[in-house]
Amino acid sequence: MSRQTGSGRQSRPMRTLGYGIFVACGLGLVLIQSAPSIDRWFNPARTAASDQLASGDGVGWLPRITGQTVRNDRIKELEAEIRDLERWRAAAISMAERMEAYETILNLQGEPPVRGVTARIVAESDGPFSQTLLANAGQVHGVEPGFVAVNEGGLVGRVIQLGARSSRVLEVTDFNSRVPIMGEQSGVRAIMYGGRNGRGALEDLPEEDQFIDGERLLTSGEGGAFPRGIMAGFAAARGEDWQVDFAMKRGRVGYVRLIPERAIPRPEDDPAEALVADSNILSEAGAGTRRAGQ
């Protein structure tokens, strides 16, 4: 049986007090972060932890002895090839859709060529707070905040936090993600976000037009956060509502390709020099005419 010493009995209120202090500290930490400016203080710590987690790339001794490493390398090679082919397939779907638009609207400007980085998913967080992935490519690999993550299935998410060698991707399955999408056949547009049942939910739907059940949903490119034409999912009718079966779930989320967003700068942010010069001449000429008139 336990021998409750005199000091043990005396220290019991101390332990209860200690418990209370720990709980108060936890509660204080949670509450203090409701201010976004204070929440930002914790970002460097999160980024440093992500970097550390992403750097573990070693191969164990057992796989080396059993030859599993060689087999794994071959599998990875073949998987990479499949990923490349899947990308081409996705590109073909996207191009067909785009070609149709080109034929309809003449003189349409083409999309710039895609550059990007392929990264391995080293950690994932599917907790109740957020659904994110940690990829082992960061700023030194050319990744920038806002890069879009895709896998062989389709759109995975968007880089929301960037470290030197890691980046955190907010998955499209998260409630806080917002992706402008359009039906490939119907052309109906909506905003997609992560629903509660593992499917995507849609908002800002038009009142009259409807999606076609099972049709592919592509990113519409509106807002410039996501490039146009990336597979986001498939439209699924659930009673009166429309939901999305995520395309990313048809591919394995072992690797993602991080590609830049294609934000189109506003004319006032990126003025053409010749036009600026022309407008200056025009305004001077206008002023001269006004002076002559007076």
């Binding site: 049986m1 336990s2 021998r3 010493t5 043990g8 019991r12 332990r15 209860t16 200690g18 418990y19 720990f22 709980v23 500290c25 936890g26 509660l27 204080g28 930490l29 949670v30 972060q33 929440d39 914790f42 710590a45 999160r46 932890a49 987690l53 998913i121 080293v122 950690a123 994932e124 967080s125 599917d126 907790g127 109740p128 707070f129 957020s130 994110t132 955190r168 409630f175 806080n176 509660r196 049942n197 394995r252 989320v253 072992g254």
Partner: protein
């Protein structure tokens, strides 16, 4: 007396270890399971539900009553969980401490160490408190009621896996306290 000395002699190596060693062993298991859970985990395309191993420690260690060292460890594990789950810092710390506090409170009235069924029931209650708090905080952060089903699944997996590993989290007495339980 002779009987008791024989029973002491028959104790296994684990039975002879002191609470500090048991605490460290439990912490090592939590760290191992927690770190493994950070990697993508699926078998034949099926997503695995990973347990919140820190709650094993919270429910198990509490049977010896409130103690500073387990509380400190739970706070540290909570902070690590906050980093990996991208939750507000302190959230999992509170979840772990709530589970620990609830388990300690109930363990004081029931003789948990002697009855494994009671131990599991107490763990279920304490983990229920922890997961309930987690759901409330996640819903408050998201500004809507988050889905309960994944949390329930994780709760069940954590509890079911606690049954075989529970002896590893039995301290016998508080770390630093003298005598045997």
């Amino acid at each position: 007396m002779a009987g008791s000395s024989r029973s002491v002699m028959r104790k296994s190596a684990w039975g002879r270890t002191d609470p500090n060693t048991r605490l460290l062993a439990g912490a090592a298991l939590i760290a191992l399971v927690g770190l493994s859970g950070l990697t993508p985990k699926s078998i034949f395309g099926l997503e695995l539900i990973w347990p919140y191993a820190a709650l094993w420690g919270a429910a198990g260690w509490a049977s010896a009553g409130l103690s500073m060292r387990p509380m400190l460890l739970l706070c540290l594990f909570g902070l690590a969980q906050d980093m990996s789950f991208v939750s507000p810092i302190g959230s999992f710390m509170l979840v772990n401490l709530a589970t620990y506090g609830a388990a300690a409170l109930v363990s004081e009235t029931l003789d948990v160490e002697a009855d494994p069924i009671k131990a599991v029931l107490v763990a279920a209650f304490a983990m229920g408190v922890g997961f309930g708090l987690m759901w409330i905080m996640a819903s408050a952060k998201a500004d809507h009621a988050v889905s309960l089903f994944p949390i329930l699944l994780t709760f069940v997996v954590t509890l079911v896996l606690f049954v075989p590993v529970a002896p590893l989290f039995r301290l016998g007495r508080r770390p630093g306290e003298r005598g045997y339980r």
